[in-house]
Amino acid sequence: MSSRSHALLRQQNSKIVKYAKDFVITSNEQLDLRNILLKLRPADGNMPTMQPGQFVQVLSPANKDTFLRLPISINNVEGGQLWLMVQMIGEGTKALGTLRSGDTLNLVLPLGNGFSVSEAKGTVLLVGGGVGIAPLLYAGRALKDNGAEPVFLLGARTASGVLERDLFEQIGRVLITTEDGSLGERGFVTQHSALQSEHFDKIMVCGPKPMMVAVAHYAKQQNIDCEVSLENMMACGLGACLCCVEKTVKGNVCVCTEGPVFNINQLTWQL
């Protein structure tokens, strides 16, 4: 990193104050077999300002195999509540599934950079796979508020895996692919017909890495500006442990502080 970019980073970091705060759960809704939606309010009543694409580090009540905090992207901030969509895959995330309203969770937030929602113009395609759709709701709302037109392309294995579909439809047009064809077009998101028939000014993606690589490849072919949200495993979330690094054009950088959102032209992916 050049000295200028380091100074810049520090400037950006110093603007965003981070907190370790207790939040009280107001509801815990089972979305499908594997996913829950937690709604929380800050115990002290002060909700920090958070940008779409940023994340929080959750201290799970399970604390054996899940020793570290769990990085979870921000699904929405609305009505004084923070929404976190959680896929229950390990002990830590499964323990979150057992929580009830009134229970308390400690979060470190807000973390990371976020999508460039305030600069985006025109038609913005937001592509999500599985639980990767989580940050796109908040991002889509912000884009719409800023005068851009969000179009969502959501992919899942089967119809029940297309989460929060009704909420996305309230914000913009929703395109769907399922691998079994039970909803929308059959196949992967990159096979959706709209990618051939329509024009998009910008693409924002969150989901499994092979999906993000495939969408990034499409964006590069079409010469469309594209941002991806990475999910590298991390420990501290604060840029201290250097565990979550991604190779970029300026070397290894922390996904937790310089990401999780990267423009694909910053990455070294073979596209």
Partner: protein
């Protein structure tokens, strides 16, 4: 309010709590969570003479009560530190100590000489125990001759407080501690991470990019306490204890084992305010137990 101040050779700490290298960045990353004025000192990231990119991702795997890492000393080199980082640290209200690593005795010594010129850095911690780089690090820390050769070379170039961080991946850590004491080390800190490995059985692959990594967290605490106890009896220089300290009670365990000061490491990842809470907690524990000065519990085990 008990007297908490301790002395590491010429270095005075306001309390025995420091943060471990590689777990607290440059302190700047934690300023929203803990006032630096609460800490005895911070040990900043491992610094080498030349920049290092570190190892490939994945560099981390969670384990029961701990984690493995193989970061591999990613840093921008000591000259970048002097030019861009040091100006941001020199007015911090705590002792800022630089952790120095290298690949040959001369290379360690050259890096230490650069840090020696920095007025507001009162000490260095020599890392002769990094398990994650091939060209040096732990290679020196696992033999008495290797450890002595690095300390000898650095001592010639470095006039301030010299702390040497020891590896637990040895047969007899007391022999290494005595070897570095004989070469003029002012203090030893221990333990660095324990070498470990974790395998993803579905992929039949190690979880870390280079196969092995260093284990940290509460999982290693009993090993660390035992080694601190042994080393404190074997040397006459101060011992700084670390390894899995999560709470003030953990810290007090190390002090009773013989550590003059302690470092908080992996706990910073779980609670970014942990180091400050541990400093407060030690103070409260001493008050509750009617102890007027922290020295009364250092090495004070009943037989």
């Amino acid at each position: 309010m008990a007297t908490l101040s301790v002395q590491i050779a010429g270095l005075t700490l306001r309390n025995p709590v420091m943060t471990a290298s590689g777990t607290f960045g440059y302190g700047l990353e934690f300023e929203d969570f803990v006032p630096m004025s609460k800490l005895g000192g911070i040990i900043v990231k491992g610094t080498t003479l030349l920049p290092r990119e570190g190892n490939d991702y994945p560099r981390m795997a969670e384990t029961a009560s701990g984690m493995l890492n193989c970061v591999g000393l990613q840093n921008k080199g000591v000259h970048y530190f002097v030019e861009h980082i040091y100006p941001q640290l020199k007015d911090m209200d705590t002792n800022v100590i630089v952790n120095v690593s290298g690949s040959s005795p001369d290379n360690y010594a050259e890096c230490a000489a650069v840090v020696n010129t920095l007025d507001k850095i009162p000490a260095i911690e020599l890392n002769i125990s990094c398990p994650n780089v091939k060209d040096g690090g732990m290679a020196f820390g696992v033999s008495c001759q290797g450890a002595a050769s690095v300390v000898r070379a650095v001592r010639r170039n470095y006039s301030k407080t010299l702390i040497v961080k020891l590896s637990p991946n040895v047969t007899d850590i007391t022999a290494i501690a005595r070897a570095v004491e004989d070469e003029g080390a002012d203090a030893v800190s221990l333990i660095n991470t324990l070498m470990g490995m974790s395998i993803d059985i579905e992929r039949r692959c190690p979880r870390l990019s280079i196969g092995t990594g260093g284990l940290s967290g509460p999982a290693i605490k009993p090993v660390a306490v035992r080694m601190v106890h042994q080393v404190a009896k074997a040397v006459s220089i101060p011992v700084i204890g670390l390894g899995g300290i999560m709470t003030a009670e953990d810290a007090i365990e190390f002090l009773m084992a013989g550590a003059t000061a302690i470092q908080v490491g992996t706990a910073n990842f779980i609670d970014p305010a942990a180091s400050g809470k541990i400093a407060d907690g030690i103070d409260q524990w001493l008050d509750r137990h009617g102890v007027a000065d922290v020295h009364e519990i250092i090495g004070a085990l009943k037989n």
